[in-house]
Symmetry: C2
Amino acid sequence: MSGDKGDVRPLGIFDSGMGGLTVMRAVRRALPQERIIYLGDTARLPYGTKSADTVTRYALQAAEHLVARDVKAILVACNTASANALPALARAFDPLPIIGVVEPGAEAAVAATRSGNIAVIATEGTVRGGAYRAAIHARMPYAKVTEIACPLFVALAEEGLTQGEIVRLVASRYLDPVFGAGDARPDTLVLGCTHFPVLAEAIQQAAGKDVTLVDSAETAAADLARVLAARGLLSKGPAESPQFLATDAAARFARIGQLFLFAPINEDQVTLVDLSA
Amino acid sequence: MSGDKGDVRPLGIFDSGMGGLTVMRAVRRALPQERIIYLGDTARLPYGTKSADTVTRYALQAAEHLVARDVKAILVACNTASANALPALARAFDPLPIIGVVEPGAEAAVAATRSGNIAVIATEGTVRGGAYRAAIHARMPYAKVTEIACPLFVALAEEGLTQGEIVRLVASRYLDPVFGAGDARPDTLVLGCTHFPVLAEAIQQAAGKDVTLVDSAETAAADLARVLAARGLLSKGPAESPQFLATDAAARFARIGQLFLFAPINEDQVTLVDLSA
């Protein structure tokens, strides 16, 4: 760390798999001079169907691994882990800055809504915890919040199946019961899973053109930039290539990861690590 | 163990999650007098997207846990684990009988085909290993084997979405390239994932009425019965209720499990266990 270069230690970003790369993309735009270590816990994905205790245990192990690599801050780029594990992570690694995606998503939703009627689509694990509902109500106590678990969206996104009739029908299946309701329709829809931005077009179509889609990636990246600046942790560059870590199946990480990063990833850029060791 | 009652030790069945309950159902029909312990590794499901090394490690831990509960035989009711981990399991627990679902599935396919043109639908992890291809060729060297990875079927089955337009379109997406081929069409289709039998109707429709669907559950149960009889390990009853173990999310195990078992499961019948301890 030198005065000239700022704090050149890397940023750690982790997710259960590859979906968090949509958040990494936003971080690279917001903080192009920062070095990033991205960790995908692909040996145990998905987190979205697992209990709060298990998700918390996995998240603590992931953060521990990043801390051992001397990261200066951690972005939890997974809604399920953010919704279930953020307090435990903050306690375990205090004073390291640890930022989740749920609070930034709630902030963006509250900024976007005019009617106070907000829908959130997410995994089962995120919906179960009610973290989005709590985070929105903390900012807007009278808001009406409808949470919808959409597990098939995760499978579609991972298969790269982001357009066409199947996606349209699945989106209708999840969204019609809430957005077909006339006057009671939400005006804002939070994409509460990092996999979902790649399905944004189909989701927008099913929800209706007048509904504002909110993606926590941009807001989370802005939050991270603000925290780094406030604590004097910004790097002045130069930019370095990101490093990808995965707990399993490097080839699959690279192949599917590029769908979410919107940039090529080579298998040999991905290092396998063991979090249980 | 008494001469009168036969060998009353339980049978162990394990799977990454709930799909193996389709196999347990066949075992209960074939061996109604046996006590069954079913273990679903729900904290780490699915296995189908993970590497051979990781699947093998998880399978060894699951089998270790069942052995500690004094099982007299183990049925690996997961195609991905059978395809990747069976040799390692057999070595580790010799002489305990350990039976997988791939060999019985291959046997059933070879018995069913007339043309020798066989298709197998499975997870990515099963297709990658080529275990079905090898097991079919060992019995029928000239067979033409086409393996198709169908990851969305797993998500659809777990959501209980087994009929209707979405399922029909997904089945067409996977099967039309192989079964739309005129003279070169396979006459036999192996359901190479324990999740798939609940989608059999849609799969049959997409493949064509003239195609024979093969499900390894029945053949695997018959194999198990034969091995138990040969080694003098059969119980003479009386039947006892099965015991369900899961590594995470007992409520979800019970809710989704009954889709595969075709019988009710109460959350309080499911005991949480930790395989990594």
